[in-house]
């Protein structure tokens, strides 16, 4: 194993690595011991705080799984609405007509610059009796979906634009040469390839959307996965264990999605059928005004 930064370790370097590992283990152990003893002091390590997750199936059927279902439902719905909307925005930004390009560009940049939480709060205000009058039991759900759609359609618009621009220029030239109009070039040649190229980026955007649903639970009373922590810890007074379990569920789901995205990326990069243009999970960046697609809340 070699790297840019260091050689394959010789006997001396190996000994040094062991020393560093030892120091790290001691430091890490100290922090862990401190944290665990503090948790033990406050009774968070007691078996009965953790056992409900194994022994009491009600924790799962009443709180965690319904919460996860709401999270997935909101995320999936937001993605399904934001995708076509984002595709339209992306194509709009590539338009030849300034009167389309300008406003669409402004729309995309505006909604990318605003925190998704604010869009959710705004969505919540729009759902109020004064405007749309959504029944109060489904209002948090729709507010969250509205916020997610407004924000993510703008981000997906950028992904689509980057996807089309990542295609080799020859594609457009060839389409023009056989007499295709601009619209035909876009819909028959560029978009299908761009969609393939940007699949990995889209899958990893789903992780951002799923993470963002947690905001709705914290501020709008949306009954998603994270907010199930409140009820669980109220019943079993196990704040830390329930937070840990919820975090693990998020990590498992999102890690699965991330892994899928990078495998997809690898497959697309290798396959001979594609033009070779693949938009990786971290490659969308346009610093002005910029939204790192992977860095959502």
């Amino acid at each position: 194993m070699t790297s840019v930064l260091y050689d394959t370790p010789g006997p001396k370097a190996k000994a040094r690595n062991w020393i560093y590992s030892g120091i790290f283990v001691v430091l890490f152990g100290l922090v862990l011991w401190w944290a665990l003893s503090l948790m033990g002091e406050k009774g968070q390590l007691d078996a009965d705080k953790w056992s409900p997750f194994v022994t009491d199936s009600q924790v799962w059927t009443t709180y965690l799984l319904p919460g996860l279902a709401e999270t997935l439902k909101a995320g999936a719905l937001a993605m399904v609405i934001a995708l076509p909307l984002g595709a339209l925005l992306g194509i709009g930004r590539l338009s030849d007509h300034a009167w389309v390009r300008g406003p669409v560009g402004a729309w995309v940049e505006f909604f990318r610059a605003i925190p998704v939480l604010m869009l959710m709060l705004f969505g919540n205000a729009l759902m109020a009796p004064r405007f749309l009058d959504v029944p109060s039991d489904t209002r948090p759900f729709w507010a969250v979906v509205t916020g997610l759609v407004l924000y993510n359609s703008a981000v997906i618009g950028e992904i689509v634009r980057a996807g089309v621009l990542s295609l080799p220029r020859g594609q457009t030239d060839a389409a023009k040469a056989i007499g295709m109009r601009k619209g035909q070039t876009m819909f028959y040649v560029l978009i299908p390839q761009a969609v393939t190229a940007m699949l990995p980026a889209l899958v990893s955007q789903l992780v951002v959307i799923l993470k963002d649903t947690a905001l709705g639970g914290a501020l709008l009373g949306f009954a998603e996965l994270l907010s199930s922590n409140r009820q669980i810890s109220a019943n079993y007074s196990n704040t830390i264990p329930s937070l840990v379990v919820i975090a693990l569920i998020y990590i498992v789901v999102n890690f699965a999605l991330t892994t899928f995205a990078s495998q997809l990326e690898g497959r697309l990069r290798k396959s001979k059928k594609s033009t070779g243009a693949v938009l990786g999970t971290d490659e969308i960046d346009d610093p002005v005004p910029g939204a790192n697609t992977a860095a959502g809340a």
Partner: protein, 224 residues
């Protein structure tokens, strides 16, 4: 239409000042923490590498909201850690900064790591041939070039961080999003005006950052 701004009832500027402070403290913190993490992830010690990888993968896939609420409910209310804050307000602010650093550090780490990959292998080989140690190669040769290569991605992380500070509203830190929530509830007749004010505030915060750092990124880029 905007008369709610004149009533003196809402301190919009004060709320945005808290947002700016949250951003600055977390930015400095996550730059340091992210650099340490990146150092671990490229280090020759396997244990440090696996710790870095595990940390980044775990934290990146956890919602920031969960981290910040975990800091508040778990660290502060359950374990009684107040980070030296005397008042509820101070403690909340510090806990939010801690959560933001823990989360944003992973993105800084990944940006830096991709920057390290832009440095040609030959340079590090030459440096090693001169007898520089891993630490010297990293801090004298590789990181200075890596930092210059990743200013644009780091600008994106900074902008995302600015927007993410709104999550602090979930533990009651009096920043822009919390005030917006309060104003939307109280000033229902001015929903769009309230939204416009806060949206403008964020555009004003993020747009110059993006433009400035984009310009800097072009100026300092290592031409290859």
């Amino acid at each position: 239409m905007f008369d709610f701004l004149d009533s003196g009832q809402y301190d919009v500027l004060g709320a945005f000042w808290v947002t700016v402070q949250l951003t600055l403290y977390s930015a400095v913190g996550s730059l340091i923490w992210g650099t340490i993490l990146a150092g671990m992830r490229v280090s020759p010690v396997p244990l440090l590498r696996s710790f870095g990888t595990a940390y980044v993968n775990l934290v990146r896939n956890t919602p920031l909201t969960l981290l910040i609420i975990g800091c508040s409910l778990g660290l502060s209310q359950t374990l009684g850690i107040s980070l030296g804050g005397d008042t509820f307000k101070e403690t909340g602010f510090r806990l939010a900064v801690l959560g933001l650093i823990a989360y944003t550090g992973t993105f800084v780490c990944e940006a830096l790591r991709s920057g390290i990959n832009t440095v040609p292998v030959g340079q590090a080989e030459a440096a090693r041939a001169l007898g520089l140690s891993f630490f010297q190669v990293l801090t004298l040769i590789v990181l200075p070039q890596a930092f210059r290569a990743v200013i644009a991605p780091l600008a994106n992380v900074l902008i995302a961080l600015t927007k993410n500070t709104t999550v602090a509203a979930t533990i009651g830190v009096a920043e822009a999003a919390l005030l917006m929530k309060e104003m939307l509830e109280n000033e229902a007749q001015a929903t769009f005006a309230v939204f416009a004010v806060f949206a403008l505030g964020f555009v004003l915060l993020t747009l110059p950052t993006g433009l400035l750092l984009g310009w800097v990124a072009k100026r300092v880029a290592v031409k290859r």
